[in-house]
Structures are given as structure tokens and as C-alpha cells.
Symmetry: C2
Subunit: 425 residues, 2 copies
């Protein structure tokens, strides 16, 4: 009998009716002859409500206590899901992250999974029960304190648990039908993808597609765990995330070159103007940023102007890290002797992603031509083997996504009736 | 440096403002030179709201999962209290029942504390932190599952923890000012008691006074732990619960004979009419009731009528156990051959309690005379060494309490401004 791990997001278990619907779906999977392990998020907006409560009490809550607080959310939903399953006549037992053996680092709020020791889960399965596991949480190996893995990390719990249990596959349920060629809220003609490779999904996640957590996809790739992203509000097949071999060698001659267009409006840009063009200056800048824990994305350095011997260095970073990065750079002013700092948060990133671009030249030209055709100026460029990203003005973001989507032939013939109301996590 | 254990009820931590107020009080106790360990209940009506959620999902939720669900309540309040304390510049760490070493039996929903291994609490204190502990919960020694101790049992957690830590005393905070000579909601002239003995408090708790949980008082007596019952909404002294030696040998000649009048309207009465007066019949009745787990309080057996050789057996029990008890007795009908069963839930119990009655005769006569003087009929009587309880019609309950309160000279000269809004737990 195979093991299936299912993960249900907050929107799927938002109220008693949702919990009963999810319980029925879980029981159906069990009836079909599978051992079932379920990972749940907190109900609806519970996590945000708990954060609000914390803020009312303390503007900067201590991370250990914030984790203790937030983990109450999954505790509630997992117990209710277990009750609803037992009400349908099947055995169920809920487990906290700690009880499920989710061992993590001690960094509260952004702990990393070190490993999973699913002894109690395996025991529950052996006894014929359905195991319900709290997503998003674990226990620190070092301090024995309760930790959380960071926003949206229930997906990661599910895939890591699936790998530890040797599950057949992992289903990620939310309120969206799957992975689309673009965000259907801004590209109505976006199509649902039936399959996408781990590598493409990684690039999409890194490029702003919120459908799956980056670390979750990394885990899936590392352990070769098939992931099925689908809606808990319908029985339609969603999108399978699979090894590249399974998505490419399909006998279909017309493999799409580009799988999707992702966008990200959460970034800002900092430009250090007039950096002396000496060896080691750029390193100094990025070392000092690294010390602050700021997450740098794209970096561009212009060719230095021969006349001045100076150059400009631009990079993008999450908007919320802007303040910290600007302070760190300001401290370097006299040491480096740059001219000035520029901060812009009116930017957007558009990325086209596709494993097919490896073997097709001219993708970059086609992408840039599409943008030019829509009168859109490109500010920065970065590429990987299967992705091209550009920074444009945030005012041009939607137009840029649509232009790229059309240029690469991704528009559906008819617009599907899409339910797309957020990430559901 | 002495250790003080404080327990705050749900009404004291009902919202962010309440939590901040409680945090300030905790910090003041720390500043005064004490090591402080705090036990908290869930915020306001959280536990009831979680129960409602469970009921929406399942009419008979599995006890293990119900405990998992309900324990989320204290997890939320304890983390918030810890945050509020840190915000005031003091170190604080919260601990679940399991982390605090509260080891219990495996009976979900009504587990009993087997012992406390407060290693992590002691470590936190040694590091100068204030430890915040979830009330009402523990971990089963046998199954390693999370358990709850039953309604209102956070008081018990606090006193048991105080005993395990060798605390100087234990403060129980709620929204009432202390223990009164009667419920001020029905006897406006009730007075707050400065001191009461463990034995008297036990009798009061058993007789319907909701101010403290019975098991909590038992623990306090067993470990000789002084308990201070007081309001978190004022700085007034409350009521100290102490060994009888400290409450009686005060040098005051005029030790009150009666400490208080308690009442209980939560009971029902069952009468088994026409039981053959043979040896073993009563035992059979109460054995079968014991098997159902019904909690019998008062029992009265009439002298059997010589003519019929039959007798009537009446007993009281919690109203909610009425159905179960009646079914159990109905099954015995042919075996015992009683005539019929009567069920009455329109009764009330009034008890006068006082260690002084040991050495003063005539208390019973005075009590009954007071009731007779108010035209109140007595249905059943039961006594202990320091308590006299009677069952009256529920319509007479308030009058009976007031008559007894006046008869034993308990009325205050002036009516105190009393805040009395429930048990606060």
C-alpha cells in the first residue's frame, strides 16, 4: 500500500464547512487504498490574526515567543481535521511538528529542517490511522524549543515528510487550480500547465510566482518527489511537478519553449553611483550587505567610464530590506568614496522561464522585441540557463507580462474560468 | 530569593490591555525581589470558542483531539504574556504543560497530575527569566500525548507547580476580590474573608463555591502551600487559604463559628421508590451507578415501612449525569424489583461551613430554625464535621442562603462594593 502525503492550505480549512470537505477528500484517498498523511496550515487568516495580537502586546515580539504563539494556529486546524475524519468513521491522530519529528535549526521564524524522524507518524499509519501533521513548525535540535519555518513553509513540511516516509507522491491543495503560464489575475488568457519540471518551478518560485515555496521545490527536486499542485475546491487534475526527464521526453514534438511568465513587484533597486573602479570595491559592498542578512537578487555593474575611472553598481532586493541595506551602505561612504546612493521601489521584475530555451536561440531577442513593441524600457537584465529576467518600471509590469505571454504563444484559445484568489497559504 | 507562583484566569488576560496589565503586575513582583513563575489560562472565552468549533465539526469529538485543540488556548495567552513582559525589559519564557514537566494520567479531558518535573522552569529561573506556564494541561506519562486536566484546573497546575518548586506561596488571580461569606451576587451583605482554612475551603468548594477548584485546595492542603486568592483588577489583599492552625490560633477570642454559606444549583435528585429492604440492594444500586462514572453527592435512605418491607433511596448528582444514571437504574428494575424512579432537577443545596462548629453545639438547630423561620422546607440533610448541607426547592435557594447568612451573624455592617462576575476561569 502506497503512502500519499496531502497538504491543505489555510483557505481550504478556513471554517468548519471547509474542514469537513477536506476530511471527506482525505477519507476518499484512504478508501482508494492509500495510507494517508496530511499536513495542514492554520485556518484562514489565523496566523495573521495571531501576529496582530502579538503586535498589540509588543512591537518587536521576542522570536521564541512569537513561534510559540503562531504554532497555536496549526494545532487548532489539525485537531479539527482529525475530529472531522473520525466523525466519518476513520481513525485519525494529529501531531505537532515536534511530535512528528520535524527537527530544525534554532533560528526562530525562519528555521530550516535538519531532518525528519517520523517514528510516531509511521506507528500511526501501521495502526491504520490517518496522521494529521502541523505544517510550518518543528522543534529545535539545540534548544528543544518550538520553531517555525517561515511563511508558506507548510509546503516544505509536506514534501520533506513525503520524502522521509518514502511516499508515492505529495499533493499540495490550495484555492488555485495549479501552476499557470502567468498569474491569471493579470493575464486572463493564462493556461494551466499539466506538468512542469523541478528546475522550471524553481525558477518560477524564485521569480515571484507564489504558487509554491522555493524550499519546497528544492526538497522535491533533491528527493525526486513528484508534487501535484491542485485545488481543494474541485476534483480537476492540477499541475504535476516532476523530474525534467518526465516533462520533456513525452514524445510530443511540440514541447513549449517557454513554460511561463512570472512577475514580482516586491523588489526595490539600490544604485551605488560613482564607485572607484578598483579591485575589491564591489566585494566590499556586497560583503557588508551580506553581514546584514539582506537578500540580494540581481546585480548589474556598468562598464566604468574611462574619463572618471568610476562605475555604477545596481542591485535589487526585497523592499522591506531597503532601509537596512541603505544604512549599511551609508556607513561605507568614506571608506569607498562613492558619489551617492539611489533608492527606487517603483520597479517590477518580469521573467520568462522554460527548459526549452536551452536548445532554442533567439529567445532573448524575441522577449526584448515584445517589450520594445509595447513601448517598455528595460532597466536591468539577468539570465540563467532556463530563465531571462528584466527589471522594468512598475507602471509597465502588467503590460510587460502580457506582451511576453502573447509573444511566446502561451495565450489560451479560450479564457478558462479560473479561481485565483491568492496563494491559499 | 523566594519563589512566588501566580496564576491568572481567563478574565485577567482577556485582551491585549489585560495582558499588559498582568505583565506589569508580574514585573512588579519580580522587582520586589522574588523569582516569579506564572500560570495562565486561555484568554477570555477562548476555550469555549474552541469547544464550539469542535462541535461544528463533530458532535462527539475524540478526547485526544479535543485536548490537542483546547491546549492551543493557553499556548496563545502564555506566549503573549511572555512578550508583554519582555516589552517591559524583563526576560520571560513560556512553557507548555509538557515542557514544564506536568506529567499526568492518560484520561483525556480529566487527566490527573502524577507529578511535576520542573527542570526547564528551574533552569529559566536560574537564568533570571520569569517562567510562564500553560495551565490546565500536561502530557501523559503513558502515551506521550497532550492531556487536559478538566475545567478550571489551571488553579491546580499553579498550586502543584508551587509545591514542586518549593515556592513561598501561590497567588490565584481572577476577577473576584477573594473568598466571601456567601456569593455576593445573591447576598449583597456578604463579607470578604481574610483567612480561611484548607478544610473549610475544601468544604466550600465541594458545596458549590466556584472560587477555587476542589483539587487545587486538596493539593494546597497536602503540601501546606499558602494560597492567596485575589483580584487582578485591584491591589487589595484577597483571602489567604492556610493551615487551620494559622486561621484559628489568632488570639482573637471571637473566632467566627461559621465561615460561610455556600450554595449549589447544579444538582438533581433521583429517588428509587420501593426498594425491597434486603441486604445488598443499596450496594447494587450504587455499584451500577459507579460503573457509569456518575458522581453521587448526598444519599438518604428512609427507614423502611414495616408494613411493606420496602424503603426509598434518594441521592443527588450533577444534573448533566441525570440521563446516564436513570438509564443505568432502569436496567436494574427487574433484578431489584423497585417500584419506580423519580427524577427532580428543581432542587438546590445550601451548606453552612465553619471549623468552629466542631466545638459549638446547636449549630444544626440554629440553621434549621432559620430556614423554618423563612418558611423553607428541608428535603435532605447531610453533614460533615465542619459542614451542614440541606437540599431545598430551587425556588427557595436564595432565601435559604440569605436566612442562614443572617442567622450566623455574617452580614457586613455596610455592603462592600463588590466586583463579582463569575469565577474568572
Amino acid at each position: 500500500m502506497g503512502i500519499v502525503v496531502q497538504k491543505y492550505g489555510g483557505s481550504s480549512v478556513a471554517d468548519a464547512a471547509g474542514i469537513k470537505r477536506v476530511a471527506q477528500r482525505i477519507v476518499n484517498t484512504k478508501k482508494a487504498g492509500n495510507d494517508v498523511v496530511v499536513v495542514v496550515s492554520a485556518m484562514g487568516d489565523t496566523t495573521d490574526e495571531l501576529r496582530d495580537l502579538a503586535e498589540q502586546v509588543s512591537p518587536l515580539p521576542p522570536p521564541r515567543e512569537l513561534d510559540m504563539l503562531l504554532t497555536a494556529g496549526e494545532r487548532i486546524s489539525m485537531a479539527l481535521v482529525a475530529m472531522a475524519i473520525e466523525q466519518l468513521g476513520y481513525k485519525a491522530q494529529s501531531f505537532t511538528g515536534s511530535q512528528a519529528g520535524v527537527i530544525t535549526t534554532a533560528e526562530h521564524g525562519k528555521a530550516k529542517i535538519l531532518g525528519i524522524k517520523p517514528g510516531r507518524i509511521e506507528h500511526a499509519i501501521e495502526e491504520g490511522a490517518i496522521a494529521i501533521v502541523a505544517g510550518f513548525q518543528g522543534v529545535s535540535q539545540q534548544t528543544k524549543d518550538v520553531t517555525t519555518l517561515g511563511r508558506g513553509a507548510s509546503d516544505t513540511t509536506a514534501v520533506a515528510l513525503a520524502a522521509a516516509l518514502g511516499a508515492d507522491f505529495c499533493e499540495i491543495y490550495s484555492d488555485v487550480d495549479g501552476v499557470f503560464t502567468a498569474d491569471p489575475r493579470i493575464v486572463p488568457s493564462a493556461r494551466k500547465l499539466d506538468k512542469v519540471s523541478y528546475e522550471e518551478m524553481l525558477e518560477m518560485a524564485a521569480s515571484g510566482a507564489k504558487i509554491l515555496h522555493l524550499r519546497c521545490v528544492e526538497y522535491a527536486r533533491r528527493y525526486n518527489m513528484p508534487v501535484h499542485v491542485r485545488s481543494s475546491f474541485s476534483t480537476k487534475e492540477g499541475t504535476w511537478i516532476l523530474p525534467a526527464s518526465s516533462t520533456e521526453n513525452e514524445g510530443t514534438m511540440e514541447q513549449a519553449i517557454i513554460s511561463g511568465v512570472a512577475h514580482d513587484s516586491s523588489q526595490a533597486k539600490i544604485t551605488v553611483v560613482g564607485v572607484p573602479d578598483k579591485i575589491g570595491e564591489a566585494a566590499r559592498i556586497f560583503e557588508s550587505l551580506a553581514e546584514t542578512g539582506v537578500n540580494i537578487d540581481m546585480v548589474v555593474q556598468n562598464v566604468s567610464a574611462a574619463a572618471t575611472g568610476r562605475t555604477d553598481i545596481s542591485f535589487t532586493l526585497p523592499k522591506e530590506d531597503g532601509q537596512v541595506a541603505m544604512s549599511a551602505l551609508a556607513k561605507l561612504e568614506s571608506a569607498i568614496g562613492y558619489e551617492r546612493l539611489l533608492f527606487a521601489d517603483t520597479i517590477g521584475k518580469v521573467s520568462v522561464i522554460g527548459a526549452g530555451m536551452r536548445s532554442f536561440p533567439g529567445i532573448t531577442a524575441k522577449f526584448f522585441a515584445a517589450l520594445a513593441g509595447s513601448g517598455i524600457n528595460i532597466d536591468m537584465i539577468s539570465t540563467s540557463e532556463i530563465r531571462i529576467s528584466v527589471i522594468v518600471s512598475d507602471a509597465d509590469l502588467v503590460n510587460a507580462v502580457q506582451a511576453a505571454h502573447t509573444a511566446f504563444g502561451l495565450d489560451a484559445d479560450e479564457v478558462e474560468a479560473v479561481v485565483y484568489g491568492g496563494t491559499g497559504r
